[in-house]
């Protein structure tokens, strides 16, 4: 089940909210959430739900083992190691085995059969959540969750199960046992959810049509403007797709009383690449920063080794294909570059240049992200600088821009922190507060209706990061 589908919005969610609202105690509420989450997951993965449940059970036991050996760092470390092997192994098998084997087959005389395993939905996300719990447990940052049902709730909670954000256990540790939803928070959650839905259905889905039109065809035929236009639109599409989904997850979490951390913070306002990654997919970035950056496997060359490892894994996490790895390392290179230049020097560079530089790097980065085929990527890059001998501009690009003018304008405008600006405006006076508040409410209803109407026509709009 996808969040942006009619059956979720108007069948699953209302029933879930109703049951949750009617539940008298936290325990009952948690049980309701677990049941609905499992139904949600089983809806898309009737077989692999067993994998999820199995993984949860095994890791719950690992948690207990680590807790049991709390005072013996060597033993608990060993248990942690075993659990890491188990979880990463599981992820590796389902997600990367085909990739690994294909690459092994490139070695002469090696001809292994390529496994054909279907990737279970959300495995990357929930595996990482499990890892965060176990590592934090061994490091003593969180308490062991002795209740298996609550642990299951943490892992399988449907708002963040299939597509993030990667919620650390420390964030929900207290709230699992003890939370309450104020009316204001519920309303905020609702608003957030609707905004995310609108981003996905109104913006991302229609931007994807443009991207398909240009990038699915022969990219060596694209004009210069056409190629740039297509990649910019693609960057916007990925942003609205992913951040919309994160917004929906955070909004729903809020409606149930959970306070997840932000996952996106207007990444296109960044001034340089380091900042971009502090604003894009924050939960992944912080995960790697906390658990991978300081791994002392490179000895003295810790810093560079750590950086390399983090960016390699960031790329790899996004997909089992070389272009994703290159994408990760590409960004890693720029972060490294900026590190070398140094923060003080970076600040001295004029703002316009920094903005331009970061946007350029990001857009080309998204090109790498899109094309799994290196050949097509190169063709696209060549088209972007006109090496393919095509015109600068053509009717098709022009028509596309005109036919989607307001959509593009809206997409660009929504990159800015409009909501925060409106909130600041509200703080000016009570009448402003009321009027903007009413405006927001009207917008919510309108966006919900518009998104729903658009959903009637689009019976097929899976979320981009779905297979991660």
């Amino acid at each position: 089940m996808v969040f942006s589908s009619l059956i979720f919005l108007y069948l699953f969610l209302p029933v879930c909210l109703l049951c949750y609202g009617l539940s008298p105690s936290i325990t009952a509420k948690n049980v309701v959430l677990i049941i609905f989450s499992l139904v949600f997951y089983a809806w898309g993965e009737p077989v692999y739900i067993l994998l999820l449940l199995g993984s949860v059970l095994v890791n719950y036991l690992f948690g207990l083992a680590i807790e049991h050996n709390k005072d013996k760092p060597k033993q608990s470390g060993a248990w942690l190691g075993v659990s890491l092997v188990f979880n990463i192994g599981l992820l590796g098998v389902f997600k990367y085995s085909a990739f690994i084997v294909e690459n092994l087959n490139l070695i002469p005389h090696v001809d292994l059969p390529v496994p054909d395993l279907r990737l279970p939905i959300g495995i990357s996300f929930y595996t990482f959540q499990i890892l965060s719990y176990l590592i934090d447990l061994q490091w003593g940052k969180v308490a062991c969750q002795k209740n298996p049902l609550y642990f299951l709730l943490y892992i399988s909670m449907f708002p963040q199960l299939v597509a993030g954000p990667i919620v650390r256990y420390s964030i929900v540790e207290q709230e699992i046992r003890n939370r309450s939803v104020t009316l204001t928070e519920f309303s905020q959650g609702m608003t957030r959810f609707i905004l995310g839905l609108a981003k996905k259905v109104i913006l991302a889905n229609h931007l994807s049509v443009i991207v398909e039109t240009f990038l699915e065809a022969d990219v060596s035929q694209l004009t210069i403007v056409g190629a740039w236009y297509a990649l910019i639109v693609y960057a916007l599409q990925v942003y609205f797709d992913f951040s919309g989904y994160s917004d929906m997850a955070i909004g729903m979490g809020l409606m149930f009383g959970f306070h997840f951390d932000e996952n996106f913070c207007h990444p296109f306002l960044c001034k340089d690449i380091s900042e971009f990654w502090q604003r894009w997919h924050i939960s992944l970035g912080t995960f790697f920063r906390d658990y991978l950056l300081y791994v002392p496997i490179f000895g003295k060359r810790r810093k560079y080794g750590g950086l390399f490892l983090v960016w390699f894994c960031t790329g790899l996490w996004h997909g089992a294909s070389w272009n994703f790895i290159i994408w990760g390392l590409y960004f890693g290179f720029f972060v490294f570059l900026e590190q070398c230049i140094g923060k003080k020097q970076m600040k001295k560079i004029p703002l316009v240049i920094r903005h331009l530089y970061s946007k350029l790097v990001v857009i080309i980065g998204f090109g790498i992200f899109y094309f799994e085929d290196m050949g097509r990527l190169l063709q696209c890059l060549r088209s972007m600088i006109g090496l393919n001998g095509n015109a600068v501009f053509d009717q098709v690009t022009r028509l596309s821009m005109l036919n989607n003018l307001w959509l593009l304008v809206a997409a660009l405008v929504c990159c800015f922190p409009l909501y925060d600006w409106l909130q600041k405006l509200r703080n000016r006076s009570t009448s402003m507060s009321y009027s903007i508040g009413i405006l927001q409410n009207v917008c919510n209803v309108a966006l919900l209706l518009v998104s729903s109407v658009l959903l009637v026509d689009a019976t097929n709009n899976p979320f981009l990061y779905f297979r991660f």
Partner: protein, 632 residues
């Protein structure tokens, strides 16, 4: 501070003087009073008399009747008054303005202090006052001096007052501006503070409204979705909508059952067509369409060398692909065509939908070869014709988009050049001559009855058969036709500009028999269907209905000419026009025919075979179909 006593000392002295002095003094007092009055008036012209606000903030005690009238007669009193006035004005302003504006105490020049102290008057000593005349003279002199000094002092005072007034006047706008700014800032802060205090309450109220509205909406729609009746067919997309799947364990485990339920729920939304209409409108609003042209679908990049072309699928077969409308593929009772892909490059221009042809010149090679082989298999007795019909893109594509289409004329010409033993029917030429007539439909990808007429006419010339004039046909018109291109492109322009669907009923007599694709299931029905109960999007079905039936027409013509038309959906429209040309007509779709075509034709004694399809179909996939029916 100058006190009246200091100034009043002399008056005391004067009071002690002689009567003449007293008279003089009295005169002085009067003149002074007059002058004072004058000055007062002058002062009051410059500045309106304000209420005396004392320098300190306590209000001035109201003068009680017992209070002695203030001594305003003496120059000292005048000075005091003037000074008092200045003090009051400055006090007012100082009170209201920022301290920044307030002149620093050291800068504040007390105008009165600017005045030099009067030189001590040389008062004649007692010895000097011995002589009464001298005394008087001295007193007079003294008075005069005093008078002069007083005058001077007054002048100084006035000057000082004026100067100060000027300065404060200059400062006034600044002060006013500062006042206003301070006022604004204060107001803003006050409002912000108030807003901050009230924020939780406001938020709570708004939260209630928001939650209630949104929840009401969500639950309301959820209830409506469950309770309202769900459609089963989509007219616009011309297909059956998803049905509730059947449960089976394997279905469930494969994820198909749940996916099917989702699809059913999402697909069969009550009042679906209305929502689709609104969706199309919303999509329209996303862009600027005043240029008059919109492209839907992929960028139709013209390929240099390609062997796969696109075929048109008869929408009556109710199959859509994912590319065109973003809907999932659903199959209906009619079998799925496995021959080609739908072209999904549609240009909307001038309220016309134009499918963009992208095949290269030699794309019809396979088709030509297949047709040649067909002829070879049939032998000399049977005449074989090939009519490849162009589509609207050859005639209606605007200049600036010409680069998006390849030439159908060239492709058709190439096919003609490759035909061997097969006669080429130049439908292109026939249609080109009449391009400004409604030979193609605007909202559908088919040609109109009129276009078919001209093509049929040309064919009859090539085949040398009689051809009935149009006047012997009855035209039937139906308003409100919106064809397949709306469903494929989703462009609201087409929906909002329906056209008139027309067809011609032959006056000639004939009977029509239908068979299924294996030549069983014989039944009689009319050639032209009754469209009364058929929804607009399917009106092209008027010609014989669906494509997978074989149609056999027996006319009253007795010329022993029997025609077999192997066609795609374009060919359907030709049949009515040929009811006065051939004794018998067989209409066979190359995709839905099971017997061996050659045997069939020889058994039935067919004399003429016409391959009639549009340019999209005269390509690889259908060529293979032609081979198949020849050899199966």
């Amino acid at each position: 501070m100058l006190t009246s006593s200091m100034l009043g000392n002399d008056s005391n002295e004067i009071d002690v003087a002689l009567p003449e002095e007293q008279a003089e003094a009295q005169k002085l007092r009067e003149t002074a009073a007059v002058q004072r009055k004058k000055r007062r008036r002058r002062i009051s012209k410059v500045e309106p008399e304000k209420e005396r606000i004392p320098y300190h903030t306590e209000p001035a005690p109201p003068p009680s009747p017992a209070d002695p009238k203030p001594n305003t007669d003496s120059p000292s009193a005048l000075a005091a008054e003037a000074y008092q006035w200045i003090r009051q004005r400055s006090a007012e302003m100082l009170e209201q303005t920022d301290t920044a504006v307030q002149p620093k105490p050291e800068e504040f020049v007390n105008p009165v202090e600017m005045i030099t102290e009067p030189e001590p008057i040389a008062i004649p000593t007692a010895v000097e006052r011995h002589d009464p005349l001298e005394r008087v003279q001295a007193a007079e002199q003294a008075q005069q001096q005093r008078k002069r000094q007083e005058e001077q002092r007054k002048l100084h005072m006035i000057e000082a007052a004026e100067q100060y007034r000027a300065e404060t006047a200059a400062a006034k706008p600044i002060v006013k501006r500062q006042l206003r700014r301070a006022e604004r800032v204060w107001q803003k802060t006050a409002k912000a503070v108030q807003a901050e205090q009230q924020q939780p309450k406001i938020d709570r109220r708004l939260a209630i409204v928001n939650s209630v509205c949104c929840l009401a909406l969500v639950f309301g729609i959820a209830a409506a979705a469950l309770m309202l009746e769900r459609p089963t067919v989509s007219e616009i997309e011309n297909r059956n909508l998803a049905a509730m799947p059947e449960f089976s364990v394997s279905n469930y485990l494969a994820g198909k059952y749940t996916a099917g339920i989702s699809e059913w729920y999402d697909d069969t939304v009550p009042h679906r067509e209305t929502f689709k209409h609104w969706t199309a409108k919303l999509r329209q609003m996303m862009g600027w369409h005043k240029t008059g042209a919109t492209i839907h679908g992929d960028v139709p990049i013209v390929q240099e060398t390609t062997t796969t072309a696109v075929t048109t699928i008869d929408p009556a077969l109710s199959v859509t692909t994912t590319a065109a409308t973003g809907t999932t593929t659903t199959t209906t009772t009619v079998p799925e065509d496995d021959g080609g892909e739908l072209s999904n490059s549609i240009l909307i221009h001038n309220k016309r939908g134009i499918m963009l042809y992208g095949g290269n010149e030699t794309i019809g090679e396979g088709y030509a070869m297949s047709v040649n082989q067909f002829k070879a298999a049939l032998g000399e007795q049977v005449q074989v014709y090939s009519m490849v019909v162009p589509t609207p893109c050859s005639f209606y594509t605007p200049e600036k988009f010409q680069y998006l289409v390849t030439s159908e004329e060239k492709a058709i010409g190439y096919i003609a050049s490759r035909l061997d033993g097969v006669k080429h029917v130049d439908a292109y030429g026939a249609l080109e001559q009449h391009a400004d007539e409604p030979i193609f439909m605007r909202t559908d990808h088919h040609w109109s009855a009129l276009g078919a007429f001209y093509a049929a006419e040309t064919f009859s010339e090539v085949a040398r058969v009689p051809f009935a004039r149009m006047s012997s046909y009855t035209k039937v018109e139906k308003e409100g036709y919106v064809g397949t291109l709306y469903g494929y492109s989703g462009d609201i322009t087409l929906k909002e500009n329906p056209e008139t669907f027309f067809y011609y009923v032959p006056s000639a007599q004939y009977t029509t028999t239908y068979y299924n694709r294996s030549m069983g299931g014989k039944h009689q029905r009319s050639l032209l269907l009754d469209l009364t109960n058929i929804k607009p999007a399917s009106w092209y079905l008027v010609y014989m209905g669906s494509d997978d039936l074989v149609c056999h027409v027996q006319t009253e013509v007795k010329n022993s000419r029997k025609l077999a038309i192997f066609k795609d959906s374009y060919g359907n429209a030709l049949v009515p026009w040929l009811t006065s040309s051939f004794e018998e007509i067989y209409v066979i779709d190359v995709r839905y025919f099971e017997p061996n075509a050659i045997t069939f034709l020889q058994e039935r004694g067919v004399t003429d075979v016409l391959f009639a399809m549009n340019s999209f179909s005269a390509s690889g996939a259908n060529a293979r179909k032609i081979d198949t029916i020849r050899t199966q």
